[in-house]
C-alpha cells in the first residue's frame, strides 16, 4: 500500500468524524478504526492529533485559497483597482467551496461544519494555523467585499460581516438538521445548492441594507 493511501484514508475518516462529533469528542482509535489503518499510523504520518486536525483543514483551505487567488487575479487583470459587486463576490466564494469539496470527493456540508467548529470549539492552535496559512487570501477577499459596500462605515461593515458569517456558517453546518425538519414539517426536500441560492440574496440584503 502506497503512503498516500494511508494518509488519505486517515484524512477522509478524520474529516467525516470531526465534522460529526467535534475534535475532542473524536478519538484517534475511532478515526483509525474507520480508516482501517493502525492506531500508530496517525502519529507516524502526522506527529500528533493537533497536527492531524490542522492537516484536515489544510486539505481544504490550501486549494480553496489558490482558487480564490486565481479568480481575484483574473478580475484584477483589467486594472489595478478591481471592483466586484457584493453578490459576485459571495457567489464566487460559494462556487469555489463547492468546486474544492467536489474535487476532494467530500460533502461540502462537512467542510462548512468544520469551519464552524474552528470558530466555536476551543482549538487555539487551529485558529493560529488558519490565520497563518490562509489569512492573506482572506483579507484580500474581505477588502474587496468592503469596497463593494461603500455606504457603510468600517465599523458597520465589520458588524455586518460577522452577522453574515454567523448566518452562513450556522446554516450550512446545520444543513442536514434543517433539511430533515423541512422534510418532516413541509414535506419538501432541498439540496445544498438550493440552500446557497436562497442564502446569497439574503446575505446581500443583510450586508447592503442601509445603516440604522
Amino acid at each position: 500500500m502506497a503512503q498516500q493511501d494511508t494518509v488519505e484514508k486517515i484524512l477522509h475518516a478524520a474529516t467525516l468524524l470531526f465534522s460529526e462529533r467535534g475534535f475532542s469528542e473524536t478519538s484517534l482509535r475511532t478515526i483509525t478504526g474507520m480508516a482501517e489503518v493502525n492506531l500508530a499510523a496517525v502519529n507516524y504520518h502526522f506527529g500528533s492529533k493537533k497536527a492531524l486536525i490542522q492537516a484536515v483543514f489544510a486539505r481544504f483551505l490550501r486549494p480553496l485559497g489558490e482558487k480564490i487567488d486565481l479568480r481575484l487575479d483574473a478580475a484584477s487583470a483589467n486594472g489595478p483597482d478591481v471592483s466586484l459587486d457584493t453578490e459576485t463576490l459571495l457567489e464566487m466564494l460559494f462556487e469555489e467551496i463547492l468546486a474544492v469539496t467536489e474535487e476532494l470527493g467530500e460533502d461540502p456540508q462537512r467542510f462548512m461544519r468544520l469551519l464552524g467548529l474552528a470558530y466555536t470549539q476551543t482549538q487555539e492552535h487551529l485558529r493560529h494555523y488558519i490565520v497563518e496559512h490562509f489569512g492573506e487570501t482572506y483579507h484580500r477577499f474581505i477588502a474587496l467585499l468592503e469596497k463593494s459596500l461603500p455606504q457603510h462605515t468600517p465599523i458597520q461593515f465589520y458588524w455586518r460581516l460577522y452577522f453574515m458569517m454567523g448566518a452562513a456558517v450556522f446554516t450550512l453546518s446545520s444543513f442536514e438538521a434543517i433539511r430533515s425538519i423541512l422534510n418532516a414539517d413541509y414535506e419538501q426536500d432541498t439540496t445544498m445548492v438550493e440552500a446557497i441560492d436562497m442564502m446569497v440574496p439574503s446575505m446581500v440584503g443583510l450586508l447592503s441594507s442601509p445603516d440604522d
Copy 2:
C-alpha cells in the same frame, strides 16, 4: 454551609467554564476546583455530568420561558389573535435575555455562548432536554414571529429564521472576540447592548426583505 451555596457555586463555575471551553473540554475537577467544593459534590447534588449540563441550561431557560410567556400573555389580553410586529418580538426576546442574566448575576454573553454550544456541540441529551422543557414557549414565540412576516411562504420563513438564529448566536457568542478586534483595528469600544441595538435592525432586514 447551606445546600444552596454549594449548588449555586457549582452552577456558576460550570456556566463560566462550559461557556469558555465547551462541555467535554471542561472536567468536573476544574469546575469543583474553581467553585471550591469537593469533587464528589457534583455527583452528590446533580447525579452526573450530563445532569449538571442540563441544570446549567435550566437555570437560564426556566425563568426566561416564564418571562416570555408572561409578556405574550399580556399582549394577548387585548384579544385572542395577538399580532406583534417583528421588531417588537425581537426586542422583547433580547430584553428578557438581558433581564434573566442580570438577575442571575451572569454575563449575557456566556448564556449566548452556551446556546451556541448547545447547537454546535454533540450533546444529544441536551437538545432533547431543551426541547422538552422549553419547546412550548419556543414554538409559541416562533408562531408569532411567522405571523408578523405574512409575506413569506412557510419555507421561506423557515430558512430566514435559521439565517437569523445563526447570525445572532454566532455574533453574540463571539462577542468578546469581535469586541477585541474592534478595539484593536478601529480603536472603538462597544457593549453587548450596543451590539444588540445594531443587530435588531439587521435581523429585521434579513427577515423581512422580499423573497428572491
